[in-house]
């Protein structure tokens, strides 16, 4: 068990290192320096800037310095926002992204699983059909389309919610809805098929034959076993909620990390791109790690490390 956790942590570090390296060299493969622009720059200013950001150093030294920075949790200065460090940009955007993202994740679990359960328990009757129709639409329509339509109908036409920003608590509705729509549908479909499969198992019949109550059968025997595939996708769900926030934050003008990321791409702010990518990757890896550990709690049959 401890061995398995250590092994996973080790793999995480290797992956993170691979990401830092890949990102670093990708960003340095971009033609043109970060200060190349249409305007001619005085060679002295150019030299001073290069010296300030250590762009004169040989590549391996820059790489070593950057690695050192990542280890000490310092992602360096932003190239485009004078006086701002990448850490500051992340610290500024994180609360917004985290609030919307966590709310969306809660929605995914709190709505997706019950919808799937309702559908499975009413197999081939109208609640099942209804849930499946909604879920099919939710999987097929891209989040940015859902977001814009919702924005037009609920904010512009009906005026129930503000069109942008999170100053008002009602401002959360649309971004969270647009962000979680796809995954609510996905989880609903997944938990439906997973529960249907579990309901067919022999031990469910046994439980019924023993005379257990319906609720007890469903929760203790049915749900717990069918939850495992749902927990499996929670890692990718988090990943997609994070990347999904690029578009959602742009549409609803939320000052989150996703918006900063897209902005830094259009601004060609290489240190910010690198830093935010690495930050995203780290968050994700921690999430996937937590999900894997959750398995152990939910499914005692899985014994990590025993397979070796």
């Amino acid at each position: 068990m401890t061995g398995y956790v250590l092994q996973r942590l080790g793999l995480m570090l290797i992956t993170l290192w691979a990401i830092v390296t890949l990102t670093f060299f990708l960003m340095h493969a971009v033609p043109g320096g970060p200060f190349t622009s249409e305007k001619m720059m005085q060679p002295e200013i150019q030299a001073a800037l290069n010296a300030k950001y250590h762009l004169d150093d040989p590549l391996w030294l820059q790489y070593a310095n950057y690695l050192k920075g990542v280890v000490t949790l310092d992602l360096g200065p932003s190239f485009k926002y004078a006086g701002m460090s990448v850490n500051q940009i992340i610290a500024e955007g994180l609360p917004v992204t985290a609030r919307v993202g966590v709310l969306a994740l809660i929605c995914v679990i709190a709505l997706g699983v019950p919808l799937g359960v309702i559908a499975a328990l009413n197999r081939n009757r109208w609640p099942d059909t209804l849930v499946m129709v909604i879920a099919t639409v939710g999987v097929a329509v891209p989040s940015y389309v859902i977001a814009t339509i919702a924005l037009y109908v609920f904010a512009l036409r009906l005026g129930w919610v503000p069109t942008f920003g999170l100053d008002d608590w009602r401002g959360y509705f649309l971004p969270v809805f647009a962000l979680s729509g796809f995954w609510i549908s996905f989880i609903a479909r997944l938990s439906r098929s997973s529960l249907l499969e579990t309901l067919d198992q022999d031990y469910m019949t046994t439980a019924k034959a023993k005379g257990l109550k319906r609720g007890q059968i469903l929760f203790k025997h049915g749900l717990r076993n069918s939850l495992i595939p749902i927990v499996t996708v929670l890692g990718p769900v988090t990943a997609n909620l994070l990347t999904g926030s690029f578009v959602i934050e742009q549409i609803f003008a939320l000052p989150g990390i996703g918006r900063h990321f897209v902005l830094s791409i259009t601004n060609r702010d290489y240190t910010a791109i690198m830093g935010i990518t690495i930050f995203y990757a780290a968050v994700l890896m921690v999430m996937i790690f937590i999900v894997d550990m959750l398995y152990l709690v939910i499914d005692p049959r899985i014994k990590y490390g025993a397979r070796k």
Binding site: L11, M12, I14, T15, A18, I19, L22, T23, L26, M27, A29, V30, T136, V139, A140, V141, P142, Y144, V145, T148, I149, L151, Y152, L156, A239, N240, L242, T243, F246, V247, Q250, I251, V262, I265, T266, R268, I273, T277, Y280, A281, L284, M285, I288
Partner: protein
Amino acid sequence: MSDIAPEMWEPVARDAAQAEYIAAPSLTYWQDVRQRLWKNRPAMIGLGFIIVLVLAAIFGPLFSPHNYYDQNLKFANIPPLFQTYEVDGTRFFFNSGNFNLYEVTPEGHVEGLLRSTKKDLIKKQQQFKFGDKLVMMDTAKQTLTLDGAPLEPTGWQWNRSNLFGTDQLGRDVLARQLYGARISLTVAFVATLVNFFIGVFYGGISGYLGGRVDMVMMRIVEIISTIPLTLYVILMMVVLNSGFFSVVLAIGTVYWVDMARIVRGQILTLKEQDYVAAARAMGASTGRILTRHLLPNTIGPILVTLTMLIPSAIFIESFMSFIGLGVTPPQASWGTLTSEAVETLRAYPYQLFFPAAAISLTMFAFNFLGDGLRDALDPRLRK
């Protein structure tokens, strides 16, 4: 019980030959798959839609009188359907988004802009003269009056010049839509093909060679699959600069991991089969065994993964284009078309309809087809 006739209790004559008779025609695996797919209505509708879409994308632009890049600001933001008015023999419609009156022919072709004779910016009114009649446009209330009385529309009219209307630069939406389908589908198909080759090659080698090579290759896959791939597509786009080939390259080189895993899993179980041993005993090379014996037998799961990869490639491409990292203007893809429509959402919300519908319907079609294929290829579901 008593009403059962006594002859019903007679034993039935048994015929050994009859018992061996095969009533249903014997089907090969693929015939069976085809039959089951054929019976799956959503999957067939999806397939039909995809075929129509591909044909429209290839041949549609050839029949269109417009091209996707010609701008005409005079005819910007014209809707596909409008209410016409008629004053003194002139037929026209009112575009409330940009306060213009356009003259329309009886067949529904948009002829040109009507010039206002007088603009009163303080009262927010414009005057239009038709012979001796005067039409007043109130730009604040968005109403038209004829000599003081409200002007009643004569009826609805489809736009015959531009069937889907025009966008904010006066480009034909239908032409752009068809061209966008071309780009989106090409990106999706080519990127999927690249992913397919990398994935099959990687997974095949890893599964066939096994042992240490397999372990190292699968560790690499494990590392790649924990990396958020959308981020890497974005980084690739930053390095390669926006454009059609960059999108294909970025999407094509990133999403092969699932394919590699599936192919490896299949190959691992297949390579222990006797026919592989037989082939090897006859002196077939590794490459020949892989391509002639092993890969054809993994085609089912590969096919399902492929049909699932295409919609996600379409989605990623439109996602990238939406945040401004996709194809460059004036080229259009469904993503750029959607983001252009979002810019004019407040005044012309209907412009969102066509790109949103196109991409959503395509996603539906591929999802249905993929689900249908998966069911058809699964022998356990055979009835």
